[in-house]
Amino acid sequence: MLAFIVQRALQAILVMAVMSVIVFVGVYAVGNPVDIVIPPDATIAMREEVIRRLGLDLPLWKQYGIFAWNLLHGDFGRSFVYNMPVLELIGGRLPATLELVLISILFATVVGVSLGIYAGVKPDSLLSKLIMGLSILGFSVPSFWVGLILILTFAVSLGILPAGGRGETVTVFGVPWSFLTLNGLSHIVLPALNLALFKLAMMIRLARAGTREAMLSDTVKFARAAGLSEATILRRHVLKLISIPIITVFGLELGSTLAFAVVTETIFSWPGVGKLIIDSITVLDRPVMVAYLVLTAFLFVMINFTVDLVFAAIDPRIRSGRQSA
């Protein structure tokens, strides 16, 4: 187990190093931020002064060197636009995204897996067919369209839920959270639902396919022959047998949604990191873009690592045999 963790950690460091180079070079290639950062009426002298202060006159490898060196010391640089530490800037937006994404993914997983298991156990029932119809719908309609429909229906026509913003927040450990107030919660419902729909559809399909396969397996037949009740079989056998693909997808979705909740955040004016990154791309706020992408890569590496650990905890064959894989 220790060898597995060390090996994974080394792998993670390598991935992060490579990612930081790719991100840095990639963002450098996007365009020159000087014209945006410096007011058009600035003198040549002021201009050169700013360029020197931002380090934009140095060759690329030197710029990267400074960036990497600072990064290793936990310094992601300062935003050109907001003129504040990038980490602070992203940190201020992260809780909003975090709560939105976690709520929507947990909802999608819990509801999706439950519905999927039901549809897998009773494939011929009317309700199962309804569930599968819902999942096809969730796959095929575009997310932004669903967002607009949700706003039109619940905010505009019915007027029972707010159309955007975070609502009231409560500060816990110095961080503002919406889901702890009733008003905040009412603001989360629509964007979370919007974000959850696709994932819900996916979880339903995944859980149904796994359940159907498991229910036909000899493991379940043998458990039935031993007199186990269907409830016990579902809880103790089937849930475990289907968990590996579900956890994989849960991890991947968690990462990609945290990083790219942009569409939903924009539609619902949710002040999360998604909006921040879009804004910083339009003004070429290079440190924010770089830091954001590096953090996203780090997030994926950490999620993959956690997922692997969870696998090992669930499946004894991975623990004993495939440590070198």
Binding site: F222, A223, R224, A225, G227, S229, K240, D315, P316, R317
Partner: protein, 328 residues
């Protein structure tokens, strides 16, 4: 001897989109306490479905459509799901061909045995551990208590099947249905398991239905043999008689295709053709298209003839037993 299991005119059908499959067709037999009978036939002849029917484990689109199964005197056909579940594992148990597939790879042996125990009994963790240890020791698993914490992949194929047998024996059922329990194992292990199960059956007074496509394996353990073809029992008799003097041409064919039945150098004689699809059984005797003795008389389904402790479904039997039960 009293019968622990009596099956009368059992019928199990699958209602599929392609048509109705009568996988078990008017099957009757009885099983005495502690008796081991063998159920033989080619793949697809309905042996497994027969086994599952006895435990009430036929899922949609299948259903038992007729007949009776009496276990320890109570009728199982038409019994409620809950009642059936309470009998499974306690009065009648089943083991399967592939122990890799039957045991859950993600649970320890102890956890799986615990689940099987708690299906019928409430025991303290300590008592559960003792019972499971005891059960593993009975089937010859060394350092049983420690092995409760092991996972299935940490056992060899033979050991895994022993674990499955231990689970089946946990509640000391009267009947065990063993569906090709040695087919997936090495030949040397096969023989061991057969011997051990014979001993266990005697020790516990448990009766067994030993299902196999292999007449050789069955003849090593069963005292009586039922030969199944296309959903029907076509011949029954004591193992010795069926092997020595088969009555049904299908049984003869099975015997001829056994390796040791032929002299060295001689080719194995397989039965020509293959089992007809259960969706389109030929009218009359289902074996007729492959039978060397078939003639016009075989276009009606042959009646079951019972004589001298044997029975058969064939209008042109190869031999006929006399009334004392010895075969001419």
């Amino acid at each position: 001897m009293t019968a622990v299991l009596e099956v009368r005119d059992l019928r199990t059908e699958f209602f599929t989109a392609a048509g109705t499959v009568r996988a078990v067709n008017d099957v009757s037999f009885s099983l005495d306490e502690g008796e081991i009978i063998g159920l033989v036939g080619e793949s697809g002849s309905g042996k497994s479905v027969t086994g599952f029917s006895l435990l009430g484990l036929i899922d949609a689109p299948g259903r038992i459509t007729g007949g009776s199964v009496r276990l320890n005197g109570s009728e199982l056909v038409g019994m409620s799901r809950g009642e059936l579940r309470r009998r499974r594992g306690r009065e009648i148990a089943m083991i399967f061909q592939d122990p890799i597939a039957t045991l859950n790879p993600l649970l320890t042996i102890g956890q799986q045995m615990g689940l099987a125990l708690s299906a019928h009994e409430r025991l303290s963790p300590k008592a559960t551990e003792d019972r499971c240890t005891e059960a593993l020791e009975r089937v010859g698993i060394p350092s049983a208590r420690a092995r409760l914490k092991s996972y299935p992949h940490e056992f060899s194929g033979g050991m895994r099947q022993r674990v499955a047998i231990a689970i089946a024996l946990l509640h000391r059922p009267k009947v065990i249905v063993a569906d090709e329990p040695t087919t997936a194992l090495d030949v040397s292990i096969q023989a061991q398991i057969v011997t051990e199960m014979k001993m266990l059956a005697r020790e516990f007074g448990v009766a067994m239905i030993w299902i196999s496509h292999d007449l050789a394996v069955v003849s090593g353990i069963a005292s009586r043999i039922l030969v199944m073809y296309a959903g029907r029992i076509v011949e029954t008799g004591t193992a010795a008689e069926v092997l020595r003097n088969p009555i049904h041409p299908y049984t003869r064919g099975l015997l001829d295709s056994m390796p040791h039945a032929t002299r060295p150098g001689e080719m194995l004689r397989q039965i020509p053709g293959s089992m007809p699809s259960m969706l389109s059984l030929p009218p009359g005797c289902a074996f007729a298209p492959r039978c060397p003795r078939a003639d016009a008389a075989c276009t009606a389904v042959p009646e079951l003839v019972q004589q001298g402790g044997r029975s058969w479904r064939c209008v042109h039997p190869l031999t006929q037993p006399d009334h004392e039960g010895a075969t001419a």
